[in-house]
């Protein structure tokens, strides 16, 4: 029986086995027999929180070879109990989106197209511009009341950022004297 069995011809399994009509066990392929969910092969499962709305649904992020292979709800959460909405369920697509920008883009004044620019140079250029514009619009007083600020620099954004990021931003901007700092809480 070995040879035929080895050939694994389902018809033989069908005739000799308990699945005479070839509806189930006989028709099962090797792949189906050894199937398992990709999450089983993950190197790590990391606890995270959905980046979209403010319900704060807990997420489990499965990682294999440094790539995110699945993001789904974490049943342990008392708030979301493992559930997600359509946006939360699309988190893997958000983080692995092929249209994500992964290189710095730079647009020269009056230019019509983007150019490349390496990250280190970009940050340095930005630091220079901050210092220049800060000084250019520095103001010690307004109607003879001390203000010690710059009105040349503004910032918008924060509601999608971490508390730690908002903290460093506000700390740096305040030390810089920049006060036109805003985020989505207001639009």
């Amino acid at each position: 029986m070995g040879l035929v069995e080895f050939l694994g011809w389902p018809l033989v399994r069908q005739v000799t086995g308990r699945d005479r009509l070839g509806r189930g066990h006989a028709a099962m392929s090797r792949r189906s027999e050894t199937l398992e969910p990709r999450t089983v092969q993950a190197d790590r499962v990391v606890d995270s929180v959905c980046p979209f709305c403010a319900v704060g649904c807990a997420q489990k992020v499965f990682v294999k070879d440094g790539e995110v292979t699945q993001i789904e709800g974490s049943p342990a959460s008392p708030i979301s109990r493992g559930r997600l909405c359509p946006k939360g369920s699309a988190s893997k697509q958000l983080v692995t989106s092929p249209t994500r920008v992964t290189k710095v883009r730079y647009r020269r004044p009056f230019a019509t197209e983007w150019e490349d620019l390496d990250l280190d140079t970009a940050v340095d250029m930005i630091a220079d511009r901050v210092i220049k514009t800060r000084k250019e619009f520095w103001e010690w007083e307004a109607d003879s009341r001390r203000t010690r600020r710059t009105l040349g620099i503004a910032s918008l954004g924060g509601a999608t950022l971490d508390n730690e990021e908002n903290y460093l931003m506000k700390k740096l901007y305040t030390a810089m004297g920049a006060i036109q700092i805003e985020n989505q809480a207001r639009i």
Partner: protein, 889 residues
């Protein structure tokens, strides 16, 4: 925030999502919860399963209405009239929870005689200065209880003001700084517990809302009287000792020129019904973004510092003492403001901050009024602001009056955009609508643009603060690809480089940067360790040991704390936000999952879940109560949640004379952040547009204000610039109301959803929703195209003709409403026009947020292209005679 902040003392949701399942009735208004917070909505469904009544009040019949027991269609922007109508039903039929109202609210307080209500002044309160468009709140204050009250106040003034007398700030109620604390009244004031005194708050409230009858509500909101009565009946029959009702709201209330007052009306209603601080009650503020609550607690906002400490104001605060004076010494936990302020300065400037230099108070820049995003965009257009950082935000689509946003950005020297995808705000110079119409020419736009790719939420560790004030930690799963970096790393790197470049400077201007405490431990990838930052936020003692409660903060500079309301998130040197004890191992409060500010408490003001004598109002609604036997007879507050009260303060405790700060909190004062310990039905201070909510029409309205001569909010912030023309009200050129909103399938400005195939295919094109009657009137076909036009611009959208949009009967005429989701822009897999380009900028005076409603016209067919578009809109403006300056009332 100020809506909840002034009413209860803190600017955050008063309850938690799971608690909605304990509600006997849930009113969802100003929110489309099933679509905008679907997973949070499971708790509303849980309540419904247990027999609760779910009511949804919304201009449209949405997916929330589909599963609600009652849907009440309302004209967008008229919520105060409806809620006022409910208040009137409660007060005129004595259906309020009297025992709760007398003990826990300022209903009994007597108000100054010279206070005049909107009934007397046809829509204005006393103290209005037409020139400045602001109120002086003096006439709204409490009558002092006795001579001694007045002496107390003067003594406190002397002690803290270094002798120089100072006038109470005339900048009305300094509304913008009380996100987390009640505004400081001078004294607790005289009270008539029988509520009969004609000048007591209860009677004033009754008179104020007397004219909000069902007939008036039908006239203003288009809600039939029997619907109003059904809602009133549902709420009142589900309130009191045995039953509680909960409210849920979101930007449907906040985004109005009367936004804060809408939330105030809801607060008043919930206080009259006695639902605040109780299980299954409260007001659930549903925030939009993952950490919008976090971005107001630790604010990247112009008017506050972390912990809702007010940003120093150039006119009033030129020293640390002046900065903390208003709150210092007053009753309530705000009384310790000096400790919080000094600790913040220590965390900013570390050792450089010493007692003799006012802990570097002078390093703080000072504000001089409104520097909100819309004023800033105006400054950009006028060339007064040249550098702009966009960090995970897309104003070209997300902000209102998109054209103004793009014109502002076109006038910049440099723009730094940090995002995941190439958003419209980064490419306005290439493919913005103005390039198409020729109003802007790419080659003439001088803005230098840096697009720095950002890391996603799984490529960086950090914490979000979600809608019920809970901090939840995310671990880092993978490294960010290519040039992507977290914003933490970018700002740390930017700060480090700026400090290096200024290292040798002796210019006083650079001292704050050079003395900044900016050294954080770096991980091997060169990124600052986010847990170290959270630890700094939590606060440390003299020798760097971690603090565990804000009560440990000292005013002498021995403690440092980045955000006093977050003190405790790193208690016992453990990242409490990272706790994940599964819910099946805890009760519903689940205190060991994440960390909730303040002090890991879920339901705020939960002292009010017990009767004045400390016993639960009822067994069914037992939550927090006074256990007389605890601590061998001394007694202690105990229950399912962390008591929001001084743990060992007996219910019958009466503070001695002249007590200050927390010691001044009586045993029956559940609202421990308020200076009088009571919840405010009447807000003597803290709101720029009046002590009580009043119905005013949105800036652009199809009808005249039926209640008062005063058409709009008198203190609204107007942006009278060419780029922000207002449609004339009750005009037949713009006869319809439009309201913008979100869909489940997309995320705000769309940057995180229009670029994802699985979401884009669910809602692939911008559309507008119109009633069958409006469709017939304007010849619109289902699935066809329509052009929607306002004074700002015209956009096109596909048409969905649906009965879910009802023709509302206001008096004897019909008002039609057009629904517009706003997720689209020129970029992404599916593109389209941005609905926010239609919106005008008229701002709420408390938080400078815009009206999301306005008037429009709608025509079949697609919009004109190129410069023909500007001509088409200009023609509308001519027909509406908008360019002629008309005196607005």
């Amino acid at each position: 925030m100020p809506g909840l902040g002034t009413s209860f003392g803190r600017g955050g949701a008063t309850t938690f999502l799971q608690d909605l399942s304990n509600a006997d009735c849930i009113l969802i208004e100003g929110s489309n919860m099933a679509e905008a917070h679907p997973v949070g909505f499971q708790w509303v469904m849980e309540a419904k399963r247990r027999g609760a009544t779910v009511i949804h009040v919304d201009p449209r019949f949405t997916r929330t209405s589909a599963v609600a027991d009652l849907h009440v269609p309302i004209r967008a922007g008229s919520d105060i009239a409806f809620l006022g109508g409910l208040v009137n039903q409660v007060l005129s039929n004595d259906l309020d929870f009297r025992e709760y109202v007398v003990a826990y609210t300022n209903a009994a307080n007597i108000i100054e005689d010279d206070f005049r209500d909107t009934e007397d002044l046809d829509g204005l309160f006393s103290g209005f200065d037409p020139e400045t468009g602001q109120y002086d709140p003096d006439s709204w204050s409490y009558v002092p209880d006795s001579r001694r009250d007045v002496e107390d106040e003067e003594r406190r003034d002397q002690a803290y003001s270094g002798g120089s007398s100072h006038g109470e700030s005339h900048q009305a109620a300094r509304s913008e700084s009380h996100g987390s604390g009640g505004a400081p009244v001078k004294w607790k004031g005289r009270r008539d517990e029988t509520l009969q005194d004609p000048s007591c708050v209860f009677q004033i409230l009754k008179r104020h809302f007397a004219r909000y009858t069902p007939e008036v509500v039908q006239e203003v909101c288009g809600i039939e009287p029997d619907q109003l009565r059904r809602v009133a009946e549902a709420l009142t029959s589900n309130s009191g000792r045995e039953r509680t009702s909960a409210f849920c709201y979101a930007v449907g209330w906040t985004q109005h020129s009367v936004g804060a007052q809408m939330i105030r009306t809801a607060s008043i209603l919930q206080l009259l019904l006695g639902n605040i601080g109780r299980p299954g009650g409260g007001i659930m503020a549903l925030r939009g973004h993952a950490s919008i609550q976090g971005s107001t607690d630790i604010p990247t906002l112009f008017n506050i510092l972390p912990g809702y400490l007010p940003m120093p104001n150039a006119k009033q605060h030129q020293s640390l003492d002046e900065w903390v004076r208003d709150d210092e010494g007053k009753a309530g936990f705000w009384g310790n403001i000096r400790s919080y302020a000094v600790s913040l300065l220590k965390s900013y400037w570390g050792d450089a901050a010493t007692p003799d230099n006012d802990f570097c108070f002078d390093y703080l820049p000072r504000i001089t009024g409104d520097h909100s995003t819309y004023s800033t965009v105006l400054a950009m257009i006028e060339g007064r602001c040249k550098g702009y950082f966009l960090v995970g935000e897309n104003p070209a689509v997300g902000s209102s009056n998109g054209k103004m946003q793009r014109l502002g950005m076109a006038a910049l020297d440099w723009l730094v955009v940090r995002d995941l995808q190439m958003i419209e705000s980064a490419t306005f110079w290439k493919d913005g609508p103005e390039i198409e119409t020729g109003e802007l020419v790419t080659e003439e736009i001088g803005t230098e643009v840096f697009f720095l790719p950002a890391a996603t939420h799984v490529e960086k560790a950090g914490s979000f603060t979600q809608t019920q004030r809970m901090l939840q930690w995310r671990d880092k799963a993978v490294e960010p690809p290519g040039d992507c970096r977290s914003d933490l790393q970018f700002y740390y790197e930017l700060g480090t480089r700026i400090r290096q470049k200024l290292a040798g400077s002796t210019d006083e201007m650079d001292r704050p940067l050079l003395d900044l405490a900016w050294d954080y431990p770096l991980d091997d990838g060169g990124d600052p360790d986010p847990e170290a930052v959270l630890r700094e936020i939590n606060g440390t003692g003299p020798d760097g040991e971690v603090l565990s409660a804000y009560t440990q903060l000292k005013p002498d500079g021995s403690t440092s704390c980045g955000c006093w309301i977050y003190c405790g998130v790193y208690a016992d040197d453990v990242n409490q936000a990272r706790r994940r004890k599964p819910h099946w191992e805890q009760d519903q409060v689940a205190a060991e999952w994440g960390w909730v500010w303040p002090a890991n408490r879920r339901i705020l003001y939960n002292r009010a879940s017990a009767a004045p004598d400390g016993t639960p109002w009822s067994e069914r609604k037992r939550y927090v109560w006074w256990d007389a036997e605890a601590d061998d007879g001394k007694g202690r507050w105990t229950g399912a949640d962390v008591p929001d009260f001084v743990p060992d303060r007996a219910p019958d405790f009466v503070p001695e004379e002249g007590a200050q700060g927390p010691d001044a909190i009586g045993g029956q004062d559940p609202f421990i952040m308020q200076t009088d310990g009571k919840a405010w039905l009447f807000a003597p201070l803290g709101l720029a547009d009046g002590p009580m909510p009043t119905h005013y029409e949105p800036a652009e309205s199809p009808v005249r204000n039926p209640l008062y001569g005063q058409q709009n909010n008198p203190t609204r912030k107007r942006m009278e610039v060419p780029q922000n023309p207002l449609n004339p009200s009750w005009s037949d050129v713009f006869p319809y109301v439009f309201t913008t909103y979100r869909l489940t399938e997309h995320h705000t400005a769309g940057g995180m959803s229009r670029t994802l195939p699985y979401l884009a295919e669910l809602q692939p094109e911008p559309f507008c929703e119109v009633s069958p009657r409006l469709a017939a009137e304007r010849g619109l076909e289902n699935g066809g195209w329509a052009t929607i036009v306002t004074g700002r611009t015209a956009i096109e959208a596909r048409v969905l003709v649906t009965r879910r949009l009802r023709s509302l009967r206001l008096g004897d005429r019909f008002v039609e409403q057009v629904g517009l989701p706003y997720h689209w822009g020129p970029n992404g897999i599916t593109t389209g026009d941005s609905a926010n380009d239609l919106v005008n900028l008229t701002l709420d005076p408390n938080v400078y947020i815009q009206d999301k409603v306005g008037t429009c016209d709608i025509r079949p067919g697609r919009r004109p292209r190129g410069s023909a578009l500007t001509e088409y809109v200009a023609e509308y403006r001519r027909r509406a005679a908008m360019d002629v300056q008309r005196e607005e009332t």
